[in-house]
Amino acid sequence: MTSLLQVTDLNVTFETEDVRVPAVRGTTYHIDPGEVVAIVGESGSGKSTAAMAVVGLLPEYADVSGSVRLHGEELLGLSDQAMSRIRGKTIGTVFQDPMSALTPVYTIGDQIAEAIKVHNRDIGRADARKRAVELLELVGIAQPQRRAKAFPHELSGGERQRVVIAIAIANDPDLLICDEPTTALDVTVQAQILDLLRTARDVTGAGVLIITHDLGVVSEFADRAMVMYAGRGVEIATVEGLYRDRRMPYTVGLLGSVPRLDAPQGTRLIPIPGAPPTMSSLSLGACPFAPRCPLVIDECRSAEPDLVTIRDGHWAACIRTDDVAGRSAAEIFGVSTQPPPNDAKAGEPPVVLQVTDLTKTYQLTKGVILRRRVGEVRAVDGVSFTLEQGRTLGIVGESGSGKSTTLSQILELAKPQAGSIEILGADVAALDSASRRQLRTELQVVFQDPVASLDPRLPVFDVIAEPLVANGFDRRRCEERVAELLTIVGLDHADASRYPAEFSGGQKQRIGIARALALQPKILALDEPVSALDVSIQAGIINLLLDLQAQFGLSYLFVSHDLSVVKHLAHRVAVMYRGTIVEQGDGDQVFTNPQHEYTRRLLAAVPRAHADVAGA
């Protein structure tokens, strides 16, 4: 049987005037009909480029060589016009962001009908519309007849992604390429979309190429996986084989750094040290993973290893594959995942934050001159919780559950609409401006997006020194403290005069944490601090947070949608749903014995990675 898609020795180089960036270097993979192949890798590993080269959707300055054969027909070198006949007809594509993949000014029915008509000139308008409605029904949109007339903004994120999938499968494609199809979605929606993609594959019988960084999605959904690092496939195997017997140290690190739902609180993760290489300055003639590899020997630096066959259908690009087999990630990377001994202090730790019946509503008004109240949205509805010193409270919920609103209500330090917030024993409603300023130093925040939370125009020194300067530190004391903070979060002194844009995501988040720690706060509000990071980097940040808590006795208010991350960090967990806390309790208790229906649904939707060999 010939494979559906055969990609052989694919090379993609982005050429700009002064630099050549080899984004993909000699990648070979194939997809059989009806098979789901995942390309896994961290950002910058070339996984999207390797897939987009197939559809010819690379920028014009990309230099592509090698061979891409679909049904035995060579796709590389085809004109854009010829590719357009294939795109959308034999190859359907699903992108990451469903909002930008749809045109905001046309109804979704029209957009699906257009996708059909482009490739079937003779189909009538009415027929195309009828087919569009059928497709909407197929992808699970309720009342498809009516919803076909809706505009993209009237749909939820999950529904939009369903529409994008409907467009992708509109012409019964043979190959479906999904570029991070669930990354922008909530976990329960993600499970539904993966189900839908499975249905789509069954209905069309297409091969699916899914690009993802989420190893949970891979183990749930894919048959085979290719792990990419520095533009090359470094390990290709069936998903089963990959989890059971991975042979490349990078794969080991990748799997080991995934936070797990069954680990006890405080479990340290196994981060891969260092950062992925920058592709523009890649030194040839050495294994690109060598600088980060725990098993590195001199031979690794002399030549880049080729893919060697481990067994039928399993290749790994490493010369020490035998040393990897059968050893756990912790063993290979030489770190302990054991939580530090539980320092069971006598008595209850003091309460640092107490929130009682917090409510925040938004008025819905109508009319321009005479604003009439037509209703209200209860973003946060009677939320109560407490946070003790040195402990972590995880607030879990999906988008729109009110968890971020709760956090910003606390951070505002203003009198809430209803209910009360007590920080370190002081009611924020009764604060005057001087004591509010004082309290601000005790409560600091780390945001989700390390790119957005650092001013791009400020060098790192000024970023970290900002809270110090605002609180009247002079230049000398600022410098001392900044130097100290850089050491605490594991950054270099020389980094202080660089700009945030020159750092990787994980380093940026470290800068954000350093800034939050500058004034030695007692409480740290963490607003999804790791969800924008790659998993191997995320592991390092989680470890850092665990260390800092142990070192400084910090209290964390940890807001996240990622249950596994919360499981690692939180002592207590509050599950939020539609503005209320539906379940609250000790971390282990909530995760092992969920009481509320929604918690159960949330836990069931988390894609589970297989257990690591030797049980980690």
């Binding site: 050429e15 700009t16 005037e17 002064d18 920028p59 014009e60 300055y61 951070l411 300023r437 601000r440 130093t441 409560l443 600091q444 925040v445 945001f447 989700q448 997006d449 957005a452 939370s453 650092l454 001013d455 791009p456 125009r457 400020l458 060098p459 020194f461 000024d462 900002e466 809270p467 605002a470 609180n471 230049r475 410098e479 900044v482 130097a483 002194h493 202080a496 005069s497 700009y499 945030p500 844009a501 020159e502 954000g512 800034r515 004034l519």
Partner: protein, 311 residues
């Protein structure tokens, strides 16, 4: 202009703080100096500015002196830029004109851009009544026929105050559109996490505006300022041409260009030298503005800007 103040302020600061960490100003200065065209342009600009004040006393001819032996002569050793129909030395006149024009250009650009930055960022950052009041003012000023107002005021002023009034009026009517742009940018910046983070850290609003908002809208402010230099010089030119701006016998680049335009093809030097001075000034302002913008914006590198996709 701002581009002059920042590099100048650097040595003083760095000598006070021989710091382990490089200060932000040092960093900016270093990034600016790396950009060779901008440095050359800035030096040239400074030379032009000094030259147009320092040179005239050294010249054998005043800007109004007549040389009856050289009427409409092309450039020669005696008259480097040539003479006009009345035998007036064009070098002296161009320098005199540049004094006026550069003063007007840079003052107007500086003042109106500062107003635009202040009004725009205050309205955008605070919102509420400040926003409404300031935007009301902007709308009001936008509908006032500024040209007429300037035309009424300037002839009534004394010769010495003439330039001052021109600067004030041109600046007062030149900031509204860019302040609206700044306001829009500020409103989107206000919601960014680094501004929120700064607020939660207890940084004062004034500091947030100066530290975060202004540097982040600096690209547009600098472009606005450099465009304003050209705009102000040209506006003065237009007014002078119609007899409202700089009054004869005084000259400005505008009046000189206006004088030279009719004979641009027959006696090109009469037109080319003042026009060349104008182009050189605006070009230098633009180049050093670009350099400052690149120094402020860590994302832009001169080499990367040249990147072109081969078609």
């Amino acid at each position: 202009m701002t581009q002059e103040t920042i590099p100048e302020a650097t040595p003083a600061r760095s000598s006070i703080h021989p710091a382990v960490f490089t200060s932000r100003r040092n960093l900016l200065a270093r990034r600016f100096i790396r950009n060779k065209p901008a440095v050359v342009a800035l030096i040239l600009l400074a030379l032009l500015f000094i030259g147009c004040y320092a040179l005239p006393p050294l010249l054998p001819y005043g800007y109004n002196d007549l040389d009856y032996e050289a009427l409409l002569q092309p450039p020669s050793l005696k008259h480097w830029f040539g003479t006009n129909a009345l035998g007036q030395d064009l070098l002296a006149r161009t320098l005199r004109g540049m004094q006026k024009s550069m003063l007007i250009g840079f003052c107007v650009a500086l003042i109106s851009t500062s107003i635009a930055a202040t009004v725009g960022s205050v309205a955008g950052y605070f919102g509420g009544w400040r926003d409404r009041a300031l935007m009301w003012l902007v709308d009001l000023l936008l509908v006032v026929p500024s040209f007429l107002l300037i035309a009424i005021v300037t002839p009534r002023t004394k010769q010495s105050n003439n330039i001052l009034w021109l600067i004030v009026l041109l600046a007062a009517f030149g900031w509204m559109v860019s302040s609206r742009m700044v306001r829009g940018l500020t409103m989107s910046l206000r919601e960014r996490e680094f501004i929120r983070a700064a607020r939660y850290m207890g940084v004062s609003s004034r500091r947030i505006i100066l530290q975060h908002i202004v540097p982040n809208v600096a690209s547009i402010l600098i472009i606005d300022a450099t465009l304003n230099v050209g705009f102000a010089i040209l506006a003065e030119t237009g007014l002078s041409f119609l007899g409202f701006g700089v009054q004869p016998p005084d000259v400005s680049l505008g009046t000189l260009i206006a004088d030279g335009t009719p004979s641009a093809t027959t006696f090109p030097w009469v037109f080319l030298f003042p026009a060349g001075a104008l182009v050189l000034t605006v070009l230098c302002a633009n180049l050093s503005g670009d350099g400052l913008r690149d120094a402020l914006d860590p994302g832009s590198r001169p080499s990367r800007r040249k990147k072109r996709q081969p078609k």
